[in-house]
């Protein structure tokens, strides 16, 4: 059984329909990429999962339970860490306070301290700059901090919204390397949304392409990347 399953999910912003019926599955322990152009509904799909947009139809199943009506804070408590569009940096708080907020719902203090150390292992600069106010970080550092903060939840699943957005190619490589490492070492299931299809397909096991609110293509990531017609018509490279 898939860890996350969406069936015919619809969502609207006011009277504007953003999702016309999205169905997708994310198997436990995999990285799944959701690709598509600007405005296709990628971000809205993630928001429909975390409960930050109102769903008008369909079902979201996580670990076998329907979570359609859950509030964002309850979805987080199920172990789904959503790194939102724009990274959701807690800008006026320090790096360390950002991480503490990531562990907000946890009550296992000793394990939280271990996770601080593990996160610093992934991002060594965090250890040296823990008292820096987050707004002063570079874009790449803020993206890393957002991923680190999501890890502090010890999530079963991470939702990443455009981790490459606005970053230099070398930084993007670093970030994707860490995403793959997290998936491998922590067995964290990851659903990520990207415009940068080439990079995302390289990291992902499986991929979906979304077009104007519904899924147009899906398949094994390597296979999608190898088919020129799909690359040209859907992925733009």
């Amino acid at each position: 059984m898939a860890l996350l399953e969406l069936t015919d999910v619809q969502a609207s912003y006011g009277s504007v329909k953003a999702l016309h019926g999205v169905s997708l599955k994310v198997e436990e322990g995999t990285i799944v990429a959701l690709l598509g152009a600007n405005g296709a509904g990628k971000t809205t799909t993630l928001r429909a999962i975390s409960g930050t947009v109102r769903k008008t139809g369909g079902n979201v199943l996580f670990d076998g339970q329907v979570i359609n009506q859950r509030s964002p804070e309850d979805v987080a408590r199920l172990g789904i860490a959503h790194v939102p569009e724009g990274r959701g940096t807690l800008a006026q708080l320090t790096v360390w306070e950002n991480l503490k907020m990531g562990a907000y719902i946890r009550r296992d203090g000793a394990a939280v301290r271990q996770d601080f150390d593990r996160v610093v292992g992934y991002f060594p600069w965090i250890g040296k700059r823990r008292d820096q106010v987050a707004v002063t970080l570079s874009g790449g550092e803020q993206q890393m901090l957002a991923i680190a903060r999501a890890l502090m939840l010890r999530p079963r699943m991470m939702l990443l919204d455009e981790p490459s957005l606005g970053l230099a190619p070398l930084i993007v490589q670093d970030i994707y390397r860490i995403i793959e490492t997290i998936n491998r070492e922590q067995r964290t299931t990851i659903l990520l949304v990207e415009q940068n299809a080439r990079t995302a397909l390289h990291a992902a096991h499986h991929a979906y392409v979304i077009e104007v609110g519904h899924i147009a293509v899906e398949g094994n990531a390597d296979e999608l990347a190898s088919q020129e017609s799909i690359r040209k018509s859907y992925l733009g490279y």
Binding site: S50, T52, S71, P72, E73, A76, R77, A81, H82, P84, G88, T89, L90, A91, Q92, L93, E97, K100, M101, G102, Y104, I105, R149, L153
Partner: protein, 303 residues
Amino acid sequence: MLLAAASAAQGVIQQIVSGLATGGVYASLALALVLIYRSMEALNFAQGEMAMFSTFIAWTLISVVHLNYYLAFAITIAVSMVGGFLLERVVIRPVEKAPPLTVVLVTLGLFFVINGMAGLIWQYVIKAFPGPPGFPQAPVSLGGVSVGIQDLFLIGVTVVLLAILYAFFRYTKLGLAMRSAALYPETSRLLGVRTSWMLALGWGMAAGVGAVSGMLIAPIEFLDPNLMQPILLYAFAAAVLGGIENPAGAVAGGFIVGVLLALIGTYVPGARDLRLAFGLVIIVAVLLVRPGGLFGRVHVARV
């Protein structure tokens, strides 16, 4: 000649100390306003009336039930915090997601309801509110400047209150979550923070802080249902002067307004009755130069 200069300097210092004392009251109430403003972007017009109601509760405990002053002080803070919390849950909760102006209107409604209720329960007759017992009444002399004990008590309580609040927001997990929820509600919810409850806690804390300001100013101003109305104006001026989103700025603004009003009232001829107007003119002048307040940031909106 020299002697006159020295005594003039002493007079100024005395006015500054007494300005700091009342400034501490403005600072407390300004802080209460900022606590709520940061999470709702709305000014709580009922903040002063909530403080006045708390002060009447303290008066009842002291003068009717004959409780010890300090015990009454503590009980009043606790009762006010619970009251502020419940007020948010019952009255504000339904409009939590409404535009700030709607929230402001609701707090204006609360203003009249609380004021009327206080008049109904305690009548519009002024009452003497006791100062802290156990202190000598005569002023003490500090380096040749005579300072009222009441003033020192006010400054002391304000400083302790601010230290407690600072430690709470800086060093506790709940304090951190409240800051995060106020500044970044959407991300905070994604991290599992129940932001709506944090808002209610914020109202509770603001009510507690406001209660302290009411109990501190009442011995100086006498207690009646309109006690806090000028104080709310001063506190609002202080918060805007310091930067309405900046707690430390609001506190600094409170002390500055207090000292300013004391000096203007004493040294500008005929200004005693116009000191609020004078003070506001100076504040407007500051805001013309620094629109975000002395310690605030100017918001740059992306269009």
